[in-house]
């Protein structure tokens, strides 16, 4: 099990600062969910960890700075499911999942039978056999998402990053995808960091929430501490009600403006 910490981490793009001095420690096996309005810097945090964009400050994996590692080694530790993954036309599901083995294949080598067996095992465990031979270009949103998660699982990385894993899915597939991540987290002790828009789902599945606004972390804690009407009102500019179910589930419901 692997921990992930941020020490005053910032992400700058050419014309703006996306993340300003983010500090946090995600404990081994913990699920941290980043919430916040569009453009708050959630995706940038994930992209920095995935090595897709540069950063200042420190990102530490098990206490060692990420920048000290090669991109291959980093990919062995961190699997990244982007917001809108590219599924190349003409690639089968099995070939797509096999891409997850890239960090373990030597530069000019090809996958061993071990890699191929491992991929078919992942495909079996995630119940994707019927997608394995299909062109990924022809899959539905839910099928794509399961396949992308399968690729991340095949990567065998102890840290899993999910950028809006459910934004394109209906409620059934949202639940299916998040249940899958939750199951994998428990089975493999994965450390998960996700960015999510649906506050109720974020509260249900994660251990801890961090609310970002304009690149700053403005609130963090468990669902009950972060998902409060005043906090959400201030940073999302919305009017919401927050219900607390008998089992402790926090439900966020928007208020409709009164009819005049």
């Amino acid at each position: 099990m692997t921990s992930l910490s941020f020490d005053n981490m910032s992400v700058h793009y050419a014309d703006r600062t996306a993340v300003a001095g983010f500090s946090d420690t995600v404990k081994p096996g913990e699920w941290l969910c980043l919430i916040g309005p569009n453009g708050a810097g959630k995706s940038s945090v994930l992209r920095a960890v995935a090595g897709v964009t540069g950063h200042q400050g420190k990102i530490l994996v098990d206490g060692a700075p990420l920048t000290a590692r090669s991109s291959r080694r980093r990919a062995q530790l961190i699997a990244y499911v982007p917001q809108s993954p590219v599924l190349p036309q003409g690639m089968t599901g099995a070939e797509y999942v096999l891409l997850g083995r890239n960090p373990f294949v030597s530069h000019f080598g090809s996958e061993s039978t071990l890699d191929i067996d491992m991929v078919s095992d992942v495909i079996d465990r995630l119940d994707l056999a019927e997608l394995a031979t299909r062109d990924v270009d022809t899959l539905s949103g839910g099928e794509r998402q399961r396949l992308v998660i399968a690729r991340a699982v095949a990567q065998e990385a102890p840290i899993l990053l999910l950028d809006e894993p459910t934004s394109a899915l209906d409620i059934g597939h949202q639940q299916q995808a998040l249940e899958l991540v939750d199951r994998l987290r428990r089975e493999h002790g994965l450390t998960v960091v996700s960015a999510m828009h649906d506050l109720t789902l974020a509260g249900i599945y994660s251990d801890r929430l961090a609310l970002l606004h304009a690149g700053h972390c403005v609130a963090h804690g468990n669902a009950e501490e972060v998902l409060r009407p005043e906090t959400l009102g201030e940073f999302y500019g919305v009017s919401v009600r927050v219900h607390r179910d008998d089992d402790g589930t926090i439900i966020v419901v928007p208020n409709r403006s009164p009819l005049i």
Binding site: A14, A79, V86, P88, E95, L99, N102, D117, S120, A129
Partner: protein
Amino acid sequence: MTSSGTTSRTAHGASRWWIPGSAVFLCAAVLGGVMIGPAGPEWWRVPLELLNRLPFIAIDSGMSEREWAIVWQIRAPRVALAAIVGAMLSIAGASYQGVFRNPLVDPYLLGVAAGAGLGATIVITVNRGGTSSWIIDPLPLAAFTGGLIAVFVTYVVGSSVKSDRSSISLVLAGVAVTSLTTAIQTFLLQRNSDVVRQVYSWILGRLSSATWSDVRLVIPYVLASCVVLLLHRRLLDVLRVGDEEAAALGVNVDRVRLVVVIAATLGTASVVAVSGLIGFVGIIVPHAIRLIVGSSYRMVMPLALTMGASFLIVADIPGRILDNPAETPIGVVTAFLGAPFFLLILRTRQAQR
């Protein structure tokens, strides 16, 4: 286990026979290439004589020494050069399409063709009297150098623009360098209109003057280039998910792109230097392969070598017999044969879906 079977089948090929099959086709094309021609021995004597030349085999093919010279000194180097040029342009085209993730890209994208054209124009202009008295023919050398310089300028300009989409700025830089180089070439030609015809015939591309020394000239570059490109076939598959995801999967995207571009450019510049600009091969062959066997680079790259070589050998045959002795330029034949062939594959493929 069911999915174990499906994984290995999809990853490595229900189409595993395509590579040996295409190699057999290439051998047939080579044989056809040395058998057919306007002058020389009757066609059926050629395979017999080839067998005769092998050690421990003696067959009387009834071929005269003069006829054998036609086969070995005129047709054979031409077939060999066609194979090398076709293979190189096809695999370079496939590689460029892979690293730029753009199906319309050809190996001339970053300015190789324009640079080589300018180099050739300069030599032809300066050295009107002909180059036969030189120890080294400066024409291919100038074309080769011109092509490499143009791509180098493109790369320096393109990668100096620091953006998230470096491949786009590289392509744009290629367009700019190509038009600048073409402008200089046009200016030179306008000042020296007496060489226009000579330059034009160089640009159209030809294999007709091929000799064994041309083959020897390009083979080291082409071999090195093809080996490097073939080694990158798996990485090209990883790049298909985009720069960002490939980087997240542990690929050093910029380095892979640079190495592939260098290798493809070196090979392309060397074949352009001896054969001129033979268009269409670098786009049509990789696409035909994708339409037939799918778009995995593990299949596309080796098949680009064999099918590209076969395609250019076959495309070179009508040119020699149709319009003898004033031959049709090979670039015209590739477009003339390639376009309908490509449309045919496209149509049958869509009908299957």
